[in-house]
């Protein structure tokens, strides 16, 4: 029995010494802050920051090659925590979420053709410009939903919809959309214009029942041009998200019915 214990202890001792030596002479020293930063990042590995996963971003942050606050998923709290580890000041960031600026469902927006091919917006758009009459509208083939790391986007009735509660604002969908109609907007904003067509009223009307015609009704009702709640691009109203409107009454008055007041972006009428 004693021999056994001595034996095992001896083996253990030899191994321990060997390992200790190895650790001393062969070890690779890494900046310990990398691990600490990785720990405070959300760990979703969404790639929204532009780096290969959270670990890649942590390395870049420590190396000083990436700006702090690029992690949209972690938001402000995460940036603050990173700043604390790195010993720098963090600029306050506001949580932003994706908004699909189209509400032309199958029953509202005209389809000019019968698309037959891969279910992906980019290829559908490259096939005769897509089957939707409106050249600016959501095709509904789910390119954004496919890239969403949080499955926050779903397709209903030929239209992509973002669930605000799940969205982490990584912005991948913004890049994926061939029609460039997804925008990151402040999560606190509740009133939105769901249209992306800057054409004149009559040509919008020809292709969609709920397209913005640029009538300026929303602007007038929210205090006029001076109030600055809306901006106009051609004949398209856009919410000025640095000064968003607050009176929800204007939504119901929109003659084109392309405005919503909805905390979860569950649009549709």
């Amino acid at each position: 029995m004693t021999v056994a214990i001595v034996c095992i202890a001896g083996i253990g001792l030899v191994a321990a010494i060997a390992l200790a030596l190895a650790d001393k002479y062969l070890a690779v020293r890494e900046d310990p802050r990398i691990g600490m930063v990785t720990a405070v990042l959300p760990g979703a590995n969404c790639g929204g920051c532009g780096f290969a996963g959270c670990d890649g971003y942590a390395r870049a942050l420590v190396a000083g090659t990436a700006p702090n606050g690029a992690c949209a998923a972690g938001g402000d709290a995460c940036a603050q925590a990173c700043a604390k580890i790195l010993g720098v000041e963090a600029a306050a960031t506001e949580k932003r979420v994706a908004l699909v600026k189209c509400c032309g469902t199958r029953s509202e927006a005209i389809r000019v053709g019968d698309y037959n091919g891969i279910c992906d917006c980019n290829v559908a758009a490259a096939t005769a410009g897509g089957d939707k009459g409106c050249r600016y509208g959501c095709l509904g083939y789910g390119a954004c939903a496919n890239v969403c790391p949080k499955n926050a986007i779903s397709i209903h009735d030929g239209l992509a919809k973002v669930d605000k509660r799940l969205c982490i604002g990584c912005g991948k969908c913004v890049k994926a959309c061939p029609k460039h109609l997804i925008e990151l907007v402040p999560a606190s904003a509740t009133i939105h214009v769901l249209c992306n067509n800057p054409d004149k009223g009559p040509s919008v009307r020809k292709v969609c029942g709920v397209g913005c015609m640029g009538c300026h009704m929303c602007e007038r009702l929210s205090g006029g041009k001076e109030a600055g709640h809306f901006k106009f691009d051609g004949f398209l109203a856009k919410v000025n998200y640095s000064n968003p409107p607050e009176d929800a009454a204007i939504v119901a008055k929109c003659p084109a019915k392309c405005m919503i007041e909805d905390p979860h972006f569950e649009s549709g009428h």
């Binding site: 005209i110 389809r111 053709g113 019968d114 091919g117 290829v123 089957d131 009459g133």
Partner: protein, 335 residues
């Protein structure tokens, strides 16, 4: 509510806007047609028990496929005839007279485990019929190696009351195997005589699986597939050539016997050529056929089973992704 559309509703699709008249179901139908001669020969030699086995396998496969697709909530794929083909191939690889419940179990295994688990046709890494056969061979070793004698047509019929007998392969293994001591016994000559004649081997008048016995019928089927351009020559030729050359070099039983008996013919022409589980390039196909032939003969010569064809193909199925990886075609103009 009906979607709004314009009056001139045109089809929008990516080029090309025309298509050759080929379809998966047509390919499967061609293989089934090519299997008809050997099926007929199997029924001719093994009688009603063969008919029952075939009927049970095919119908079980179809039902299992339908049920699996329903359970997965996906569209039915009965129409592509692949389930029918799997059932037929499985049946042709079973001995006649096998208890039918075993055939049912095998068919369910083939479709449910070996195919639909992976998502159905095109996704399975192993040939479903062969996987099922291997499963049955291991689970029901006894019944799976009990061979019905071709009914009333066996010339070498020494004892008419015996309904089962060893396959020529097993006899050959006993006679010519590497640890054979039979040559010293007085039964040697008798055993040699019990081997079927070359003609019997060609037409299929010997014990074996329902569909593997008739080399001529299989050759006709293979010729049909080649003519219809369903298969290419690479796998059958390299498979059979490897078996032939190997047995020439290794000695033992005559090389032509090694080719004509057992599952080499059906394996080389119908099982190894299965699209999904064989390499896609010509070079890969040659390697694949060579590997099948080599493994088949290794198992025949040294292994515990008298027949190694299905195992050889299964193992090569497993290597197939790696072969595909190594034999990527070189693009026109690439360095």
């Amino acid at each position: 509510m009906k979607p709004k559309t314009t009056e001139s509703h045109l089809v929008l699709s990516s080029s090309p806007h025309t298509h050759a008249k080929s379809s998966v179901s047509r390919i499967m139908l061609d293989v089934i047609i090519a299997l008809l001669p050997t099926t007929a020969m199997g029924i001719w030699f093994f009688g009603m028990s063969a008919v029952w086995t075939i009927a049970v396998c095919v119908s079980t496969c179809i039902v299992t496929e339908a049920l699996c697709r329903m359970a997965m909530k996906r569209e039915s794929t009965i129409g592509d005839l692949s389930a029918v083909l799997t059932g037929l191939l499985l049946a042709l690889n079973l001995p006649a007279g096998l208890p039918l419940w075993m055939a049912v179990a095998g068919s369910v295994f083939a479709i449910a485990i070996a195919k639909q688990v992976f998502g159905g046709l095109g996704m399975n890494p192993f040939n479903p019929a062969l996987a099922a056969r291997a499963f049955m061979l291991i689970s029901f070793t006894g019944p799976m190696t009990t061979w019905l004698k071709p009914i009333c047509r066996c010339k070498c019929d020494a004892a008419p009351d015996v309904l089962t007998m060893a396959t020529p392969l097993a006899t050959m293994k006993r006679l010519f195997g590497h640890d054979a001591t039979a040559s010293a016994t007085p039964h040697f000559q008798q055993a040699i005589d019990s081997l079927p004649s070359t003609w019997d081997m060609l037409v299929g008048n010997m014990p074996g699986c329902i569909g593997e016995v008739s080399a001529i019928a299989l050759a006709i089927g293979a010729a049909y597939l080649l003519w219809r351009k369903v298969i290419t020559w690479h796998i059958p030729v390299s498979f059979i050539a490897t078996v032939y050359v190997y047995s020439l070099i290794a000695g033992g039983a005559p090389a032509y016997m090694q080719v004509l008996t057992g599952g080499v013919m059906i394996g080389a022409c119908f099982m190894a050529t299965d699209y999904v589980t064989s390499p896609i390039t010509a070079k890969g196909k040659l390697i694949f056929g060579f590997g099948c032939g080599l493994l088949c003969m290794l198992i025949r010569q040294f292994g515990g089973y008298p027949e190694g064809c299905s195992f050889a193909i299964l193992i090569m199925n497993a290597i197939c992704p790696l072969i595909n990886r190594w034999t990527q075609p070189k693009p026109f103009g690439a360095k």
